[in-house]
C-alpha cells in the first residue's frame, strides 16, 4: 500500500521555547489508523499540525494529502460556528471550496445522517450536547471525503459512555470510507481501542518511544476491551509511557 502522508526526520523548534518535536518519523498507509499517545507537551499535537499543513517543520520533510478537502482535522473542542445551523457548519468546507450552496447543504445533511444526527440538522451548536456537537464536528471533517483524518483528542471533553459510543461510531464510519486516521490522545485504552498501531511519544523534545501493533478486527468485536490482546497491549503501552515520562522528568 502506498502512503497517504509522512513525516521524515521532522523537527519543530519554536523561537524562545526550544525544540518541541523531533526528530520524528511517521508514515501513514492508506486507510491505516494510528494512535499517538503521550503526556502533554510531547509534541503529538505539533505532529498533527504538520500533517494538516497548519505549520511547517523547522527541519525535515512533510509529505501530505494536500488536495482540497483531502485532509480534515477535528479538534478537542467541536469548534462549530455558533451562528450557523449544524447543516451550515458541516457544509462550510464545501461552500468555501466553491460547491454550490444547495449541493453542499445536501451533502452536509447526508454527513450528519452518517454520524447519527439526522434529527438535528437544523439545530444550532448551543442546542447540541457535547457528544452531539462532536459528532457534528466529525461530520464536517468527513463531508469532503478526506483521505486523511486528523483527530486531536476529540473525545477528551466527553463523558465515558459518550466517548465509547463515539469511538465505535467512528470505527464504523471508517469501515465505509476508509480514510487514514491519526488519533491523538492521552488515554491509553482509547489509543488501543481505536488504532491498528499505537505510537508512544515522549516529551522534551517529542520523539517516538516505540510502537505497538494492535492486530484485531475493526470495528472492534463486542467485549474487545476484556480480551487478553487488549489488556496486554494497554499494559505494554502504559509501561512504555511511564518510562518515557520518567526519563524526561
Amino acid at each position: 500500500m502506498s502512503s497517504v502522508a509522512s513525516l521524515k526526520a521532522v523537527e519543530v523548534v519554536y523561537p524562545g521555547r526550544g525544540q518541541a518535536l523531533g526528530p520524528f518519523d511517521l508514515a501513514l498507509a492508506e486507510g491505516e489508523i494510528v494512535s499517538l499517545v503521550g503526556p502533554s507537551g510531547c509534541g503529538k499535537s505539533t505532529a498533527l499540525r504538520l500533517l494538516a499543513g497548519l505549520e511547517g517543520p523547522t527541519r525535515g520533510e512533510v509529505r501530505r494529502a494536500a488536495g482540497r478537502g483531502e485532509t480534515s482535522v477535528v479538534f478537542q473542542s467541536p469548534t462549530l460556528a455558533p451562528w450557523l445551523s449544524a447543516t451550515a457548519n458541516v457544509a462550510l468546507p464545501l461552500e468555501l471550496s466553491g460547491v454550490a450552496r444547495q449541493e453542499a447543504r445536501a451533502s452536509a445533511k447526508a454527513a450528519l445522517g452518517r454520524v447519527g444526527l439526522a434529527a438535528a440538522v437544523d439545530a444550532r451548536p448551543a442546542q447540541l450536547s457535547g457528544g452531539m456537537a462532536m459528532r457534528a464536528s466529525l461530520a464536517r471533517a468527513l463531508v469532503t471525503g478526506p483521505k486523511l483524518l486528523l483527530l486531536d483528542e476529540p473525545f477528551a471533553a466527553l463523558d465515558e459512555i459518550t466517548r465509547r459510543a463515539l469511538a465505535d461510531d467512528l470505527l464504523a464510519i471508517w469501515r465505509e470510507a476508509r480514510p487514514a486516521i491519526v488519533f491523538v490522545t492521552h488515554n491509553v485504552e482509547e489509543a488501543v481501542y481505536m488504532a491498528s498501531r499505537v505510537i508512544v511519544m515522549s516529551p522534551g523534545p517529542g520523539r517516538s518511544a516505540g510502537e505497538t501493533v494492535i492486530d484485531a478486527p475493526v470495528p472492534r468485536p463486542h467485549g474487545f476491551r476484556t480480551t487478553a490482546l487488549f489488556r496486554n497491549a494497554a499494559e505494554e503501552i502504559s509501561e512504555r509511557l511511564a518510562s518515557a515520562t520518567r526519563a524526561a522528568a
Partner: protein
C-alpha cells in the same frame, strides 16, 4: 423582571419623593432653590409638548450622530484589522480623541459649524463620543474569532473575503452590537454636552431647555427638563439592551 425587581426601585423612588415633598414643606425652602416634587410634576405637565419636542430634537441629533459614528467606526475598524500598519497609525489618534473631553473640543466645532448651524456641531461632537466604543468593539470582535475556526479556514483554503464575511464578521457581531449599545448612551451625553457649549443659536434640545430655565431661575422647569432627559436616555438604553438581547439570541440560536 420579577415582582421584587420592579417593586423595590419603585418603593425607593416613592420614598425619596415623599421625604423630599415633606422636607420642602417643613423647611419652607424657596422654590427656586429646591422645588417640591409636585411643582416639578406640574412643570412637567405644563411644558409637556415643549419638552417632548426638545427631547425629540436631542434624540434625533444623537441618533444621527450614532449612525455617522457607526459608519465611520465600522469602516475604519475593518481597514485597521486588514492592515497592521494602518492599525499602528490610527491607534494613538483614536485614543487621543477618546481621552480628550468633548467639552474641550466643542467650541472648535461650534466655530467650524458656524452660528447658523449649531446642530451640525452637536451631531459631529456626539458622533466623536460615540465613535470609540463602536470602533474598539468592532476591532476586538473582528480579531476574536475562534483560533481553531481560523485554522479550519486555513485548511479549507478560504479566500480573504470569505474569511471576512463568513468568519470574522459573524464572530464580531456580539461585540459590534455591544459597542452600539454603549455608544447610544454616549451619543446622548455627547449631544447634551455639545448643546450646552453651543448655547442657544438655532438649537432647541433638552440642554437648551435646562439652560433657559436656569437663566430664569425657573428651577422646577429645569428639573422637568432633567427628568425628561433621564427618561429619554433610559428608554434608549432599554431599547438597545432589548436589541442586544435579541441579536444574541439570534446569534447563539437560543
Amino acid at each position: 423582571m420579577n415582582r421584587l425587581g420592579f417593586l423595590a426601585p419603585t418603593a425607593l423612588i416613592g420614598a425619596i419623593l415623599v421625604v423630599w415633598q415633606v422636607a420642602c414643606a417643613v423647611l419652607h425652602t424657596p422654590e427656586y432653590l429646591l422645588p417640591p416634587p409636585t411643582a416639578i410634576a406640574s412643570a412637567l405637565a405644563h411644558n409637556a409638548p415643549k419638552l417632548a419636542l426638545s427631547a425629540w430634537r436631542t434624540l434625533a441629533m444623537a441618533l444621527e450622530a450614532l449612525v455617522a459614528a457607526s459608519v465611520f467606526a465600522g469602516l475604519l475598524a475593518l481597514m485597521v484589522t486588514l492592515s497592521r500598519t494602518l492599525d499602528q497609525a490610527v491607534r494613538p489618534l483614536a485614543v487621543a480623541l477618546q481621552v480628550t473631553p468633548v467639552v474641550a473640543i466643542a467650541p472648535l466645532f461650534v466655530i467650524w459649524a458656524g452660528v447658523d448651524h449649531p446642530d451640525r456641531a452637536i451631531i459631529a461632537l456626539a458622533a466623536i463620543v460615540a465613535f470609540f466604543p463602536i470602533f474598539s468593539g468592532t476591532v476586538r470582535g473582528l480579531t476574536s474569532a475562534d483560533p481553531d475556526l481560523e485554522r479550519l479556514f486555513d485548511l479549507y483554503g478560504a479566500r480573504p473575503l470569505q474569511r471576512l464575511t463568513r468568519l470574522r464578521l459573524p464572530s464580531a457581531l456580539p461585540f459590534i452590537v455591544e459597542g452600539h449599545k454603549v455608544a447610544s448612551g454616549l451619543a446622548i451625553i455627547g449631544a447634551v454636552v455639545a448643546e450646552f457649549v453651543a448655547g442657544s443659536g438655532g438649537a432647541e434640545g433638552l440642554a437648551w431647555r435646562i439652560l433657559e430655565a436656569g437663566n430664569r431661575l425657573r428651577t422646577a422647569e429645569m428639573f422637568a427638563a432633567i427628568v425628561t432627559l433621564a427618561l429619554m436616555a433610559a428608554v434608549v438604553h432599554v431599547l438597545f439592551q432589548a436589541l442586544e438581547k435579541r441579536a444574541l439570541v439570534w446569534w447563539r440560536g437560543r
